[in-house]
Amino acid sequence: MSLIEVVGLSQRYGDRVVLKNINVNIEKGEIFALIGPTGTGKTTFLRLIDLLEVPTSGKIYFDGIDTTALGRMKLRIRRRMAFVLQKPVVFNLSIYDNIAYGLRWRGKGRNEIKAKVDRLLDVIGLSTFRHKNARTLSGGEAQRVAIARALAVEPEVLLLDEPTANLDPISTLKIEELIRNIFHQYKATIVMATHDLSQGRRLAHRIGVMVNGEIIQVGKADEIFNSPLNREVAEFVGVENIIGGVIVSRDGDIATIDLKGKIIEAISDCAVGDEVYVCIRPEDITLAPSKAISSARNSLAGEITRVAPTGSLVHVEVDCGFSLIALVTKKSAEELNFKSGERVYASFKASAVHVIKK
């Protein structure tokens, strides 16, 4: 049995539908990341899990208990979880008192509270500031206090809403490190919402992609990044080349696809005549000034239309009847003299092409 089971969950505010028929299971002891653009319903989903809102329809089972049917029992279930909100709010009290609050509400003894809070102050590295008012902290520090405060109550489920939004890169790294530590030390199940897909990829065991209030795809990070289920997911996970086409023939696993007049080969189980989107990651495309002999099944001639350096890599846009973006190192681009107007061959393997049925 899953720890949290969400069945047909919908949430509406007046006419505005925020969540549509969400079905997802969260297993005990995993880090589950909900990724999606901002304003897509991730926060509402977490609020519903934490029983801060009542859903319009659908059910949430926590450890097998139907939480939507609970009255006073809600508090007992909620006390098995802790939620760190996106905007870290700290109480206008000392850092120590902030972290101790949840324990005091549970009627814990003074010594127990002190032992736990002291340990957490060490974990977040703010021991020396224990008596400082939490309102005077920076964003990153306040977020650490908020996470420590949630951990103090030793929740079975830790809900994190955009734990590093609005933080600088160094604070982000610290928080991510903290989340990893928490997971290993406390063995809590973590459900986090983030719009930063690379963060989801770094931290989570499984990812759910949420777009416009719907969870479109759930799977391991690599599955989602390499085999997005539809165009929206592909766009969100950063596939830059998404081209429409039609399957013209098949030979075993290999399908031949007509992309606006150009023919390519790809591995796909779509039937002849199916309209499809072809996804190719820029890093899977190699560029050469002349047609080279290689094991790559696809090689398209084209003309460079744009060269855009980004750090040590260069984005090269090639027009081969449709626009194709390739990623090459700065050094290769210089050595092979890639610049606008040059003729090149863009090659990629049939296995590097991910085909989505329209």
Binding site: M81, A82, L85, V89, F91, N92, W105, A146
Partner: protein, 198 residues
């Protein structure tokens, strides 16, 4: 002492009541708050009249036999300052970030624990409300004359004494009493400020 007790009693009623009104959504909430705010300008003599009618011998609560006693003066003052306290505490709580309520709930606070956490967040503004309520109670004349009767050594308070002595032409005594009244107000305010700074 009468005003301090009245303020204390009114606070005891108003803090939970204001939390209830603040933390719950219900139809007519806005209207209720408007009514409370209108009652800020409740004339003291109207409250006096109301309490007088309620507790006089022939009134519905006449049997309690507390007419012209300090007890009734406390009740009268508490009623008088309740709208101010209630209204100001509701606004004080309204100034607290809404995320505080969610944070408290998500950390496992029960309903009353959430209310206490919110009051604690708004403690300075709540204390200011209490100080204003106390100010209105201690400066009160009309109500305490009506329901207290200004009986010497029993229900005569500083304000009613000042009023009486002034009408008798004893201006020096009145001024002295006025200074004492202000000093008491100052001491109480200083004490409340001390609590607030903790």
């Amino acid at each position: 002492m009468i005003s301090v007790t009245a303020t204390f009693l009114a606070s005891l009623v108003c803090l939970p009541l204001a939390s209830l009104i603040h933390l719950h959504r219900f139809p007519g909430k806005r209207l209720l708050i408007n009514i409370i705010q209108t009652l800020f300008s409740l004339p003291t003599v109207v409250v006096g009249l109301f309490v007088f009618v309620l507790f006089s011998r022939a009134g519905p609560l006449g049997g309690l036999n507390i007419m012209f006693t300090p007890t009734l003066m406390i009740i009268g003052q508490a009623i008088l300052i309740t709208p101010i306290l209630l209204g100001l505490i509701i606004s004080a709580l309204g100034g607290v970030d809404k995320a505080i309520v969610d944070t408290a709930l998500s950390l496992g606070a029960s309903g009353p624990q959430v209310a206490l956490a919110v009051i604690r967040e708004a403690r300075y503004a709540v204390m200011a409300a209490v100080i204003i309520g106390f100010g209105r109670a201690i400066s009160e004349v009309g109500l305490v004359i009506m329901v207290g009767g200004n009986i010497r050594g029993f229900t005569r308070v500083l304000t009613t004494a000042i009023s009486l002595e002034t009408s008798k032409g004893e201006l020096e005594l009145s001024i002295a009493l006025g200074i004492i009244l202000l000093s008491i107000a100052l001491i109480v305010n200083l004490a409340l400020n001390r609590i607030q700074q903790r």
